[in-house]
Symmetry: C2
Subunit: 242 residues, 2 copies
Amino acid sequence: MEASQQNLEGFTLTFGVAQAVGLLTVVLVTVWAGHYCGGFSWRSNPDTEFNWHPVLMTLGMIFLYANSILIYRAFRNSRKRRLKVAHMTLHVIAFILVVIALVAVFDSHNLKDPPIPNMYTLHSWIGLSSVILFACQWVAGFITFFFPGLQSPLRASYMPVHIFFGLGGFVGAVAAALMGLTEKALWKVTDYSHLPGEGVLVNLIGVFLVLFAGLVIYVATESRFKRQPLPEDEMLLTSGLE
Amino acid sequence: MEASQQNLEGFTLTFGVAQAVGLLTVVLVTVWAGHYCGGFSWRSNPDTEFNWHPVLMTLGMIFLYANSILIYRAFRNSRKRRLKVAHMTLHVIAFILVVIALVAVFDSHNLKDPPIPNMYTLHSWIGLSSVILFACQWVAGFITFFFPGLQSPLRASYMPVHIFFGLGGFVGAVAAALMGLTEKALWKVTDYSHLPGEGVLVNLIGVFLVLFAGLVIYVATESRFKRQPLPEDEMLLTSGLE
């Protein structure tokens, strides 16, 4: 029970608030897309197919991505190997949602008459870079830490890189979301400059995204909250089975 | 010479690349404002008065802010007290530029006929929040670490908060800048969707901002690069003079 000797004061509260803010953000984006932007469709209408894009990106590239990062700290008493599988799996689910979200936005551009050009905004450059970084990290993490699994010194030297670019991809996704909200607000919110209900909603989604990012980065980087290896982890490590 | 025993491999290169990318970003924003957006004026023309806003924000709230953060690591062999004075001073200069940049944008809205409303975009909410956070941090840092200077336990407990919100305000400023670029691109860049020269320039400024932020956060958080206390610092600390 090494882990119980840690000073985890404030962990549960901060983690809980982060979850609440994250869920609220996903709900607000869904309400925005569903209520203000005309709801959801697939292939039949480019405008409503688009609406999957913000919802699935917020859910996959932000909320699930963050929870996958936090899984080691949230379930600190579970075995390392189980946490790794959960971390990978959650990222796979996130990635599938991200791919559907990307299909939705490309479709919504290409199915328009005339088509809307793709990949010209700063949002798209930063957003797609974050997705590519995320995918590269998944592959590198899988090879290094899971299968075949590299030797200890290589794992140890890749770990800080994995963490840095993992958090970096998350922050990049949040920055891309903020730019995406800005784009939609300027293109679509009628009379945005007088802050109608929809304008306030878009801005609040942005504010909650920033709060969520701050809380996640805090919980993920506070050294006091770091998961301590369990005796089982150590055994596996020294026996070379993991 | 304690500091020389540290493993600082890669510090000079990373720090140098960060400076180069940061300076390049400031230059590109200035070229954009000066060449593509009509240059600079004060009070006589709201459109060109506005142009001070992106230039001074990038210089003050991003480039100088970052360098003020990095000063402890860049000049690690200088005395702590001297570094503190430099840190505060650089932040004061940054803050003055930020205030001028804020006056420029409010003027450019208010002097228009009809006036453009203020503070309705997500950019303005996140941007002004970052500036307010920055100002609060300055005051709290001054009281805690400089004058009158609180007692050691209080300093020690505020330090991680100061660092977290210091880096947070910097990242918030970069996020606000990315939204500001997105706004200007959508409002002003003719035929943005076919990526004319100005559109590419705006996007590249955004990409360089993200690179700069990544490099700065890396240099500021890599524990290997942390400044080690000098013997003089310790003496001052124990004698209670600092």
